[in-house]
Every structure is written in structure tokens, then in C-alpha cells.
């Protein structure tokens, strides 16, 4: 098994709406030696349905895990919520054989079976731990010189620590380290760093969700940061696509560039900017002058 060959787990939001994430992932990772395989038959990871029926969540995750297992591949899940769902499902099924049997009973209807061996990685795992900072450094062609960015880790990338997450729950620094390798000068800590973007409340409390987003963006803007780097399509949906709405909700003029880590990575390692979906970011990314073009 090629240790750098992964089945892509797209989830729901990325393939249907957050195209910039998928574009930048598909453009940058192969340049760094990662082979991405598209498996047919996948579905939602089930995490957004956890409030409705947790067994449904387990089932939805398990069926995709079973497909990966059948193909002898590990999953690469760019969305941290998918990553958490798949990972937690693994743990629950491994620790509770009765539950595993029950799920497998249901999987029979789709001719699937799962034994619990599929591994799942996230973008941070891939970049920081598997590819490694040394390798990334070698690929940097256009350093993001001195850009004072802040990182919005979101919730599922770092919590809950007991399940094992891509980065530390109280002082995550892996993305800052990646950004430094890319030449940026990130602000490594700020009081609201670990706060949620509000996305999970979109289904039933959208105004509150936008308030949360607005509050965090306002705080980051007051810091004097040049822009925000995020990892999760839900976070990005709030911080980027809904930035102006969030600004209206908290009565603030928000004007922060927000980019996916993989978009910045792409720019730094010299990927053709048109392949990174930069024109899909609704926040003022042009302020960072990443492509050297005039705004």
C-alpha cells in the first residue's frame, strides 16, 4: 500500500458548494506527492444528523468506511466535521462489538461490511506530519512574505482531545508552523483563537450563527490581522461567503480576506492561481495581493 495514496472523502458541503476547497486540495496535494483516489458510492458522513438520530450518523459513516476498507485505502477528509464523525464512529464501533454487529447487520442491505480498520487523516495531518514541513519548504516558490495572518482552527480540528484530533485542543500551532514554512508571519495566539464560527446553528438559528461569525471576525479585525486562514468548509462558509451578512448582523464593517489553507499553500508552491478557486472567495482576498495582479 502506497503510504501517500488516499481515498478522498468529500463529505457534503465541499463538493456541492465550497468548490474552492476541493479545487485547491486537488491542485496542491498531488504536487506534494499525495495521490488522491475518487471512490464511488460514498455519502454524507452523518454528523449534521447527529441531533436527529445518532444511529443514523453511525450508519452513514460506517458505510463509507466500509467502502474504503473494501478498497484497502485510508480516507483523507478535508472537512474536519467529517474527520471527527468517521474517527468517532471507528472508536465507538471498535470499543462496542455489539454496536459493530448491529451496524453490520444494517450494512448487509447495501452489500457492505465493516471490520474497523479504515484510517482517516485530515489536511493538517497530511501537511504537517505526513508530508512534513521540510518537504513543503523545498516546494515554496513564492513565499507569503511577512503576511500577518491568523488561523481559525474551528472546533472539530482540535476538540475533543480524548478522541485524538489533528492538533492540540488548547494551544494548536501546527497550521501556524505550516504558514511560517510558507513564509508568512502568523499571529500565533489571540484571545478568541479557540472560539466557534457558529456554523452548526445554521439549520435552526441562522441569526445567532451569523452573530458568532461577526463577533469573531470583528475581534480578528481589531487585532490588525492581514487575513484569516481556515480549514473547514463550514467555517469558510461563515467567515468568507457570509462575511458581509455577518457584518450586518453585528453592525460592523468587516473587510477581512479569508482563505483556505490549501489555497495559500497553492499560491506559495507556485500552483496556477486559476486552479485554486481564488475567485470563489467572497471576502476581499485581493487585498493580500497574492497573485501579484492589480486588484
Amino acid at each position: 500500500m502506497n503510504p501517500h495514496r488516499y481515498a478522498l472523502f468529500p463529505g457534503c458541503l465541499m463538493p456541492t458548494e465550497q468548490y474552492a476547497l476541493e479545487l485547491s486540495v486537488r491542485a496542491t496535494l498531488p504536487a506534494l506527492g499525495i495521490e488522491l483516489v475518487d471512490l464511488p458510492g460514498l455519502s454524507c458522513c452523518g454528523e449534521p444528523m447527529k441531533s436527529v438520530n445518532q444511529t443514523l450518523t453511525l450508519y452513514l459513516s460506517a458505510r463509507s468506511l466500509a467502502i474504503a476498507e473494501k478498497n484497502h485505502l485510508s480516507f483523507f477528509a478535508p472537512c474536519p466535521q467529517c474527520h471527527l464523525a468517521l474517527h468517532e464512529t471507528n472508536i465507538i464501533l471498535q470499543k462496542n462489538p455489539a454496536m459493530m454487529d448491529r451496524i453490520n447487520d444494517m450494512l448487509k442491505a447495501e452489500d457492505l461490511h465493516y471490520t474497523g480498520t479504515t484510517k482517516i487523516v485530515h489536511t493538517v495531518d497530511l501537511l504537517h506530519d505526513i508530508i512534513g514541513l521540510e518537504t513543503i519548504k523545498k516546494h515554496v516558490k513564492h513565499p507569503l512574505t511577512g503576511l500577518k495572518l491568523v488561523v481559525h482552527y474551528g472546533c472539530q480540528t482540535i476538540r475533543p482531545k480524548e478522541l485524538g484530533r489533528p492538533d492540540d485542543s488548547e494551544n494548536p500551532q501546527k497550521v501556524e508552523e505550516i504558514l511560517k514554512t510558507l513564509g508568512a508571519d502568523p499571529i500565533t495566539d489571540y484571545p478568541q483563537k479557540l472560539d466557534c464560527c457558529g456554523a452548526p446553528l445554521l439549520p435552526n438559528k441562522p441569526e445567532t450563527a451569523l452573530t458568532k461569525t461577526g463577533q469573531k471576525l470583528q475581534a480578528i479585525q481589531d487585532l490588525g490581522a492581514a487575513g484569516v486562514v481556515d480549514l473547514c468548509p463550514w467555517c469558510h462558509k461563515m467567515l468568507d461567503s457570509r462575511q458581509s451578512k455577518a457584518g450586518e448582523t453585528v453592525a460592523a464593517k468587516l473587510d477581512l480576506p479569508v482563505l483556505y489553507l490549501t489555497q495559500l499553500l497553492g499560491v506559495a508552491i507556485g500552483i496556477d492561481p486559476t486552479k485554486l478557486g481564488l475567485d470563489l472567495n467572497l471576502s476581499p482576498v485581493h487585498k493580500l495581493n497574492l497573485t501579484g495582479d492589480k486588484p
Binding site: P10, D38, N204, K205
Partner: protein, 175 residues
């Protein structure tokens, strides 16, 4: 020997509480019994300031067995699942997971799903994903969609009928 809550004149529903604790244990979570009401969860709750959710109170209600009061309350749907309560609880109780269990129980007992949850559920049932391919705006003020961006076709359940049958079966089961 009885305990009566004088506000609601209700008695604790010990059997339902036991069932919820059982369910939590099956999902590898610690029993709510250990909570000692330090309120660290509520102090850090991201949903508290805006929506008045009090995770420690949710745990207290479960401990005492006021399940119906819990499941009938709309506040349980305000949890932002930021997971800070689960991360920082000194007794390894996870109020967020108790809230998931309460929401599941509410749905099981026939509560109507708030907001867009029904639409999301129906979409998963129909296609396997939360929503359909969206058309998005670009900075150049044009619109585009997945196919136009030359991304490969979606990965969806190969036999949608079998998939739907499985999902429907889950809805019929006891969690």
C-alpha cells in the same frame, strides 16, 4: 418513598434516565452521575451568551430524571456543538453528548424537527448528501457550478434504493 418536584408536581423518570445513561455508555461516554455542578461547561459555553443554554443545568435535569422537561425544552436545540464542554469537564461528563441524546429522544417522541433539519434529512434520503449541487457567485460577479469548474462527478450511493431502505429501517428502530 417519593420525590416530587413541586414546580411541576412531577416525579423523576428514573427508567428513562437509566435508558439515556445506557445509550451514552454504548457510545463510550461517561455517566452523567459524576457531574458535581462546577458549571465550568456553562462558564465557557459558546451558546450561552446568545441563547441562554446552560449545559450544567441540562446535566442536572438528567441526573434528577426530569426527562420530559428536557426533551420538551427548545433550548436543547441551541447547542453549537463547539465541544468545549466535553473538552474541559473535570469529571469527563460530556453535556454536548447528553444534549444529542435529548434531541434524539425528542425526535423519537414525535417532536417536529426545527429549522432546516427536515430538508437536510430528506436530501440525504433522496440523494445521499445534505444538499444538491449549488450555483455560487464569484468575485467577477458571474455564477458557476461544479461541472463548470471541471470537478469530477459526485460520489453517491451506487444503489440508491438499497441505501434508502437502510435509512428508513434506522428510523423505525429504537436507538
Amino acid at each position: 418513598m417519593t420525590i416530587t418536584d413541586l414546580t411541576s408536581m412531577g416525579e423523576p423518570q428514573a427508567d428513562v434516565r437509566a435508558e439515556i445513561n445506557e445509550r451514552l455508555k454504548r457510545l463510550q461516554h461517561h455517566a452523567s452521575d459524576y457531574c458535581y455542578q462546577c458549571a465550568k461547561c456553562t462558564s465557557g459555553c459558546e451558546a450561552h451568551k446568545l441563547l441562554e443554554l446552560e449545559p450544567h443545568k441540562i446535566v442536572a435535569l438528567l441526573k434528577r430524571g426530569h426527562i420530559t422537561e428536557l426533551t420538551n425544552n427548545d433550548v436543547i436545540w441551541t447547542c453549537m456543538t463547539c465541544l468545549k464542554c466535553r473538552e474541559r469537564c473535570p469529571q469527563q461528563v460530556a453535556p454536548v453528548e447528553i444534549l444529542f441524546a435529548a434531541k434524539n429522544l425528542a425526535v423519537q417522541n414525535g417532536k417536529e424537527l426545527p429549522g432546516k433539519y427536515t430538508a437536510m434529512l430528506q436530501s440525504i434520503l433522496g440523494t445521499g448528501l445534505l444538499q444538491e449541487i449549488q450555483t455560487v457567485t464569484t468575485t467577477k460577479n458571474t455564477t458557476t457550478t461544479r461541472d463548470q469548474l471541471c470537478l469530477p462527478p459526485l460520489s453517491l450511493p451506487t444503489d440508491i434504493t438499497k441505501f434508502q431502505a437502510s435509512i428508513m429501517a434506522i428510523a423505525m428502530q429504537k436507538p
